[in-house]
């Protein structure tokens, strides 16, 4: 009991004797974690963004003008049996016309009834595992061999860019994330060392009287715990605050699950404990 009292007293002493250092540490950790959070959110957002886009990824299979209706239903059956195709929607000339009206806003084909120039088509969607260039290319090649099909179209280039961007953001996020966590560790260890070094003589003396390492290190480890935990939470707090203020219409910002955020804060707090230990360790070697 008395030792816990002592440890807490030391903790408060550390913080209140060095308010500038403590505040500086808090601020810099918060910003570092903010950077981390931003990249986490960016990764999540871009992932969701591309997933949404991919979900709607369609392949349009245009039907030859001279294909017979009877043959078409057979071909549709064949299409549905191709692995990876989630749905096949038939778009008749009338539906295509309606789609055009929706797109342009006016019916451009007024009085055109007998002579609709739009081709019939099937719109295919795919299971998510198949939404890669390789697999879609294979499917495209297969479909192109069908008799009834005039040509096939899907946004191949676009998909390629999406894939590349996604993996790049993930890569940068990983590198940066590691760097940031490393820095946060360094940073808070340094700050704790800064607070502790001023007291190195005292440690020497306390050790001489028989104080254990852990006993002396605990206030600093606790401090690391608090600092890291608080600043991790503050980083997320800032992001949430800003999220409420900004409105992106062209992008839905995806935050990690609250559970993950809490886990993250706890993990950084534990990191803080470790950094506290590393910050103090060398000073206790007496």
């Amino acid at each position: 009991m008395i030792r816990i009292n002592h440890i807490l007293k030391e903790l408060f002493r550390n913080i209140f004797r060095n308010p500038g250092t403590a505040f500086g540490a808090l601020l810099s950790l918060t910003l570092l974690f903010l950077l981390f959070d931003i990249f986490w959110v960016a990764a999540g957002t871009s992932e969701q963004f591309y997933d949404d886009l991919l979900y709607d990824l369609q392949m349009e299979v245009f039907i030859a003008e001279d294909a017979e209706e009877i043959s078409l239903s057979q071909t549709k059956e064949v299409l549905l049996r191709i692995e990876g195709i989630r749905s096949v929607t038939y778009v008749s000339k009338d539906v295509a016309r309606q789609q055009l009206i929706d797109l342009v806003g006016v019916d451009l084909l007024v009085g055109y009834d007998s002579l609709n120039p739009l081709p019939r088509s099937w719109q295919l969607t795919f299971a998510s595992e198949y939404q890669t260039r390789e697999r879609l290319d294979a499917i495209e090649r297969e479909i192109n061999t069908f008799d009834d099909v005039s040509h096939v179209q899907y946004s191949r280039n676009w998909l390629e860019k999406a894939e590349r961007t996604k993996s790049m953001i993930l890569d940068i996020g990983m590198v940066l994330g590691l760097l940031i966590l490393l820095t946060a560790l360094f940073n808070s260890a340094n700050n704790i060392r800064l607070m502790a070094r001023a007291r190195a003589v005292g440690f020497y003396q306390m050790r001489l009287i028989g104080a254990g390492k852990l006993f002396l290190a605990l206030p600093f480890m606790l401090e690391g715990f608090l600092m890291s935990g608080i600043s991790a939470a503050a980083g997320w707090g800032l992001l949430y605050y800003w999220k409420g203020k900004i409105e992106f219409t062209w992008l839905e910002i995806i935050f990690p699950a609250v559970d993950d955020i809490i886990l993250f804060c706890l993990a950084t707090a534990v990191l803080g404990v470790i950094s506290g230990y590393f910050g103090i360790r060398r000073l206790l070697k007496v």
Binding site: I2, G202, Q205, L208, I209, G210
Partner: protein, 221 residues
Amino acid sequence: MSDEIIVELNNVFLKSDRGAPVFQDLNFKLVAGRSAIITGAAGSGKSMLAELLVGRRFAYQGSVELFGQVVRRSKKRTIRKVRRKIGGIGGIFDLVPSFTVAENIMFPMVLVGERKKVRKERLLNMLTEFSLLKQATERPDRLTRVERTLVQFARASVANQPLIIVDEPLAGLDQKTYERIFEYMIKISCSGRSAIFLSAETLPREIPNSDSYQLINGALV
């Protein structure tokens, strides 16, 4: 009980940081209740003896035993326990600068987890005995040299530590202050606890219950 051996050094060899031999086949034995006065020239290794006893330095040959336990570099727990039984004054035994006088004196009791009531009582005893009541809330950097020594005396006595190491507390004192500190040394020697007095000059008077040694050429004679 009185024959209990508190310190036993056997054939100790020790080198300084610069590699010079300091102790060469040093032997020493201290029985509970008795004290030792060890005199030696500057650089003869008095302070190193203190460091050896508290496990701050280790012999490269020979054995160091305190309170029946062997002190070795690898035995961290033993060292911690032994240190808690030793009160140190002067030399390497300084005060904790960030603690007040009262906190400094209480610290040995904090370490063993003494109850609050006992702590308060003993602290008061010590502050009274060493006339430090007025200075209780000061920090060491605002004390005079003599006051600091007195606080060290109080800290070395507060938990009834069975062994006290006193490293030249009389250096550079005027006659009056010298006498005052000397009285405290005699008091310790009469209290039934053991003490090791380290000094460059021979002490002016006898200390009861004590044996005198000289540290010459790395051995005690």
